[in-house]
């Protein structure tokens, strides 16, 4: 691990890269979506051969930054210098030719084509024969196809996948698909490789192997790598420089040690480093080939707040979606007040009194706040009860009453979260499934939301809380479960979990 | 992807099997029992024809089929030359017409009734000429059907003389001072008559004040065309088109309160048999048609009675044309004492010689003669619709 030396303008440069121009310099980068500053005043410098990490809570704008660098979105302000050249006015294709390659958060392979064809597509702009020469099978076609064939096997060899060359990309197991996407990006001969959550959904041994390979790529190709990742062992284990993004802004930068101990980072992101109603028994969920939920069981007693914590991509949202019927699990039993939820269609579950506030809130943007709340009361015919529910929602969330005529789409992140919870309350549920209520909210708003969750619980609502902000979630819960890559690794009283050093290390950066 | 292959292969295989079973050469068609009404098959001359059994104009195909069958029955009963008639469907499409023609050739067709409508007629007449199989078409009236082919003759008016005959008739009878024309510009029949009508009208100094068109796709709203005619002050509307579009024009003109005199062509025939059409709207519509079901001569009466008793509706001039074709062939075959065992080529020479010399009296015109490029000259009859019936003018 070479020493990081502070440089005057934007922070730290790897000792190796001092004296050489940095590969990437983003200054005051920003983009606004309809008034909402998704990324604001983003500054980052990456050395020629640096492995840099970009971390931050879910919804902090990390993927948006990648989309800005690769010109999928055109930035509204700020400049991006790639190897000294200003990429202003370039489109996505020119930027790729200039030397930036990327992978995607949700895998985007050419699934009907073979592994080798996917890699050859990476070499598209480095295959030197034109369409006519291809059709007429001129000599340059044969030379280039031979060269790209060997080059593709060579690249696949890095992840020892060359034996899979003839397989259809779509039929590979999850880990192999992730690695193929990286190889395809390498095939475009980039100077800077952007990896979007490469270790997501990988088990510890696969993660270990991936760390080895990323280092190997950097050393063989002498290129810079900028990666987004939630798995802290992976990030601290491999990145030389880490930048922490929250609320669209860089709030800290430096070596892993410096970043973890930085108080401001801890408070906002790591949270230094946070009569049975519902019964889930050995639930298994598959996404195509990927075994996302592995045989988990949990229960929530009446009146409790139970927290389900874990890193992003551990399967928290998948679990909730399996419970509320939004996706069909492979096997297992989910019962709520002696109803078998797996056998009930999604829209009937709310009638049993179990409401689900989905991840990302998903309010009906083109309908007014009042209309959204009315939708929440879709199942109830009882006018009086609806009126009371409406009053109690407005009492909990006075701001919603002020804005009841407004279109939900124009509300701020926090207000939309309140609306989503209010909407769920309109169905007068006995139990609430809350999916990451604190996502994308400023620290002080997060406190307010958790205060309201506590009040709702005191009003008698049982709550299963799914949260990434481990410390906050465990502090208000009675019991908790810790989920890691689809398996429950720890469970027990919330207080003990807070003290448990494994949890501390994994989620509290102890 | 694998699943798709299995399904596709299964379907294609099933269809392929039926194909090979059916396509075992032309054995399949020999036993065409359905159309073989009357007459023993041994000594009969095979007469084939194509027509739009499916598709928009199917009422013409049925009418001609029935008319020809009655004639075939009567002739075979007389014991002289025997005919065996077979009609194939061409859905008013040139490609299917040629396929139908080839099916009939496999059947051993010796004489041909060509095709019912103009576009298929042009395509099959070219085949008739190449294979030198004589053709006498009851109703394919386009000039391209007979042009450059010495063995293709028409029983119906050719477009040119239908167009010019109408112009001549209108100017002779002074039916209208200001004339408007609406024609269907994506239909060979309608635009053919229009072109010859306009050239003849120019010669005769008829004042054509408005010319508008429509196509199959825009065959619903005629307000623009009728407005144009009305504003131009036309007192006679010439409608060279088939009856379905004409009924719409009559309907919309009446709704607009625009009541000029209407002058149609043989395609107008059939408007009275249109289901649900208010015949009062057609009151006073004039048209040139070679056949009138109410004519008082004995031959027409027996044909109309037999047609009505067998098919339950009054025959239109397409049925009469087909009936006359069979009789004309009969007359030519008897004069040339043609026999069933002659080849198509032999019959072709005989027919050409007969048709360019003989005169023929039939339901659709007396003293009809043909010139050497196959066009008929016969006296058209002016008809007017009065209280729902055709009356001679």
């Amino acid at each position: 691990m070479s020493k990081m030396i502070p440089i005057p303008s934007t922070g730290y440069l790897n000792e190796r890269d001092i004296g050489k121009a940095p590969i990437l310099e983003a200054t005051h980068l920003g983009i606004e979506f309809g008034g909402l500053k998704a990324v604001d005043d983003f500054n980052l410098t990456v050395g020629r051969t640096e492995i840099a990490g970009l971390i931050g809570p879910n919804g902090a704008g990390k993927t948006t930054v990648f989309n800005l660098l690769t010109k999928v979105y055109q930035p509204t302000h700020g400049t991006i210098l790639l190897d000294g050249k200003d990429t202003h006015g370039m489109n996505a294709i020119q930027v790729n030719k200039a030397g930036i390659a990327r992978t995607f958060q949700n895998i985007r392979l050419f699934s009907s084509l073979t592994v080798e064809e996917n890699v050859k597509l990476g070499m598209h702009n480095h295959t030197h024969y034109n369409t006519l020469e291809g059709i007429l099978r001129m000599p340059r076609y044969w030379q280039e196809e031979k060269r790209t064939h060997e080059r593709a096997l060579e690249l696949l060899h890095i992840f020892d996948m060359e034996h899979l060359a003839e397989h259809k990309a779509g039929s590979l197991p999850y880990g192999a698909q992730r690695r193929l996407e990286i190889v395809r990006a390498l095939a475009t001969e980039p100077k800077l490789l952007l990896l979007d959550e490469p270790a997501a959904g990988m088990n510890p041994s696969e993660t270990e192997e991936l760390m080895e390979n990323v280092r190997k790529i950097r050393d063989i190709f002498q290129i810079a790598i900028l990666l987004i990742e939630h798995d802290m062992q992976f990030v601290t284990g491999i990145c030389e420089g880490i930048a922490v993004l929250n609320y669209g802004k860089i709030i800290a930068k430096g070596t892993p040690q410096e970043v973890i101990n930085n108080p401001e980072v801890i408070r906002s992101y790591l949270g230094n480093r946070r009569a049975i109603m519902l019964k889930v028994e050995n639930l298994n969920v598959y996404y195509g080939m990927i075994h996302a939920i592995k045989d988990i069981s949990l229960e929530v007693k009446r009146g409790e707040i139970v927290s389900l914590v874990g890193a992003n991509g551990a399967g928290k949202t998948t679990t909730l979606q399996a419970i509320s019927g939004m996706l069909k699990p492979k096997s297992g039993k989910v019962s709520y007040l002696d109803h078998n939820l797996l056998a009930t269609p999604a829209h009937k579950i709310v009638q049993y009194g179990l409401s689900h506030v989905p991840e990302g809130r998903r309010v009906f943007a083109q309908m007014t706040v009042l209309e959204n709340l009315e939708m929440g009361a879709f199942i109830s015919k009882d006018k009086v009860k609806n009126k009371n529910n409406l009053d109690s929602v407005f009492e909990h969330f006075p701001r919603l009453e002020e804005r009841k005529r407004q279109l939900a789409g124009t509300l701020s992140g926090g207000e939309q979260q309140m609306l989503a919870i209010g909407r769920a309350m309109m169905a007068s549920p006995d139990m609430l499934l809350l999916d990451e209520p604190s996502m994308g909210l400023s620290p002080l708003l997060v406190k307010e939301i958790f205060k309201i969750i506590k009040e709702l619980n005191e009003d008698g609502i049982t709550i299963l809380l799914v949260e990434q902000n481990a410390k906050q979630a465990l502090s208000i819960a009675k019991r908790g479960y810790v989920l890691e890559t689809g398996k429950i690794v720890l469970s027990g009283n919330a207080a003990d979990l807070l003290e448990n050093d494994a949890v501390k290390k994994a989620y509290l950066g102890g | 992807m694998k699943m798709k292959k299995k399904i596709a292969l299964g379907l294609v295989l099933a269809m392929g099997l039926t194909m090979f079973a059916g396509c075992g050469g032309n054995s399949g068609d020999k036993n065409a029992a359905a159309d073989n009404a009357g007459g023993d098959t041994a000594a009969a001359i095979k007469v084939g024809g194509t027509g739009p059994l499916t598709g928009g104009d199917s009422i013409y195909d049925l009418a001609e089929h029935h008319g020809a069958e009655i004639a075939e029955e009567e002739i075979n009963a007389m014991g002289g030359v025997q005919f065996e008639l077979k009609m194939e469907d061409d859905a008013h499409d040139a490609e299917k017409a040629v396929n139908a023609y080839n099916t009939l050739k496999d059947w051993g067709m010796q004489l041909s009734l060509g095709s019912v409508t103009s576009t298929p007629g042009t395509a099959t007449s070219d085949e008739n000429y190449r294979d030198s199989i004589f053709a006498l078409t009851p109703s394919a009236s386009a000039t391209t059907v007979t042009e450059g082919k010495d063995n293709v003759f028409q029983m119906c008016f050719a477009d040119p003389n239908q167009g010019s005959a109408s112009a001549q008739y209108i100017s002779d009878q002074q039916l209208g001072s200001k004339i408007a024309v609406i024609y269907k510009n994506d239909d060979v029949y309608s635009s053919g008559i229009y072109e010859t009508f306009m050239s003849k009208a120019g010669e005769l100094g008829l004042d054509v004040v408005s010319t508008t068109t429509f196509t199959t796709d825009s065959q619903n709203d005629f307000s623009v065309q009728l407005n144009d005619a009305k504003n131009a002050g036309a007192d006679l509307l010439f409608l060279p088109m088939y009856y379905d579009a004409a009924s719409l024009i009559l309907n919309q003109a009446d709704a607009m309160g625009y009541a000029p005199k209407f002058f149609g062509v043989d395609g107008m025939d059939g408007i009275l048999t249109l289901e649900g059409f208010d015949t009062s709207l057609a009151e006073g519509v004039m048209l040139l048609t070679p056949f009138s079901a109410d004519a008082d001569d004995e031959r027409t009466q027996s044909f109309v009675a037999k047609y009505q008793e067998r098919y339950g509706e009054v025959p239109n001039q397409f049925a009469a044309d087909a009936y006359d074709c069979i009789y004309a062939l009969y007359q030519a075959c008897t004069n040339a004492n043609a026999t069933a065992d002659m080849t198509a080529e032999e019959l072709n020479e005989l027919m050409k010689e007969q048709f360019t010399t003989m005169t023929f009296d039939g339901l659709t015109g007396t003293g009809a003669t043909w010139n050497e490029n196959g066009q008929i000259t016969k006296e058209p009859k002016g008809m007017v619709i009065q209280n729902g019936v055709y009356v001679g003018m």
Binding site: N67, Y73, S324, G325, M326, A346, H347, K348, V350, Q351, S355, H356, P358, R362, V363, F364, A365, Q366, M367, E371, E374, M375, G376, F378, I379, R423, A424, A427 | T54, G56, S58, I59, N185, T212, T213, F214, T215, D217, S218, Q219, N220, D221, S223, V224, Q225, N227, D228, N231, D244, A245, S247, L248, N251, A255, M256, G257, L274, E275, G276, D278
Partner: protein, 293 residues
């Protein structure tokens, strides 16, 4: 004066397109599905009304009601049989199925009722009121069509904005997943949209054939495509857009016929569709639908 009479016939043609377009917008807006067979449901509606009034001498109103019932059932059956299994399928598959369904309806009609044209006795009688001493006449059919068109549009706007079921339809059109969590059964909502769309198609069929009385199995095809053009022109998914788009397209077609050429009027209408789709795919009043990366 001819300008006014052309304008009137433009509006009357346009109002027919508008009613058909309302059906398209409802189904496409909610179920995000281009129901190619919508034009042919109109033809079926017209045939049912024709047989009811002409063959069995029923009162026109009963004829219209009967055809609405039949078309509504037909709409639901089509959705359940052909489109529901393809809820998650790619757009290409859904479009080809819709084309298949359109051909199926046309050819079954041809086999059942033969292809010879039927003359449709206008349900509203075919008198007309005369203006400016007879120079300009507006047929009752046109008046009724325009009035019915506006009434239906207002009814739909109120239904979608004010009633609970209507709002649930809007919720489904925005986010099927979230709507499910509210307890809304997405499949029944989409079927209901098809039912309403098809009922509208029945009314459109009756009015189309009252204005232009010949009726053949392919009567619904071309007006269907032109009405889709109107729906896109007005902004697919927006109910007022369908009305405005329909009327405007009718006027464009008639003016193209009157002032440019009758022979290329169809080509001009399609040219309008292409220009609109390229310049402003969301049409006059449509909502922007951005695709998330």
């Amino acid at each position: 004066m001819s300008f006014l009479s052309n304008l009137i016939s433009g509006i009357s043609l346009g109002s027919v397109y508008a009613i058909i377009a309302l059906g398209y917008t409802m189904v496409y807006g909610i179920a995000k599905m281009l129901n190619f067979a919508h034009g042919d449901v109109i033809m079926v509606g017209a045939y049912i009304c024709f047989f009811a009034t002409m063959r069995y001498g029923m009162h026109p109103i009963i004829g219209v009601l009967l055809s609405m019932i039949v078309c509504t059932l037909l709409g639901i059956v089509i959705d359940r049989l052909a489109y529901k299994p393809l809820r998650q399928a790619p757009a290409l598959a859904v479009l080809i199925t819709a084309i298949g369904m359109s051909y199926f309806l046309q050819n079954s009609a041809q086999l059942l009722w033969t292809s010879s044209p039927k003359v449709f006795q206008s349900v509203i009688g075919n008198g007309s009121i005369k203006l400016f001493d007879g120079a300009l006449s507006i047929s009752y059919v046109t008046l009724v069509t325009i009035v019915v068109c506006i009434v239906i549009m207002i009814g739909l706007v109120l239904f979608v904005n004010k009633t609970k079921i209507g709002k649930s339809m809007r919720a489904v059109s925005e986010d099927k997943g979230a709507a499910q969590l509210m307890g809304i059964n997405v499949n029944t909502t989409i079927s209901l949209t098809f039912a309403i769309g098809s009922a509208l198609a029945a009314i459109a069929g009756v009015l189309l054939c009252s204005a232009y009385p010949t009726l053949t199995p392919t009567t619904g095809a071309m007006p269907g495509i032109k009405a889709f053009t109107a729906a896109v022109f007005g902004g697919i998914g927006s109910i007022p857009g369908a009305l405005i788009g329909g009327i405007l397209l009718g006027i464009i077609e008639i003016f193209a016929k009157a002032y440019i050429t009758t022979q290329l009027s169809d080509a001009i209408v399609f040219a309008v569709l292409i220009v609109v789709l390229i310049v402003k795919p969301t049409g006059l009043l449509g909502k922007k639908i951005s695709e998330k990366v």
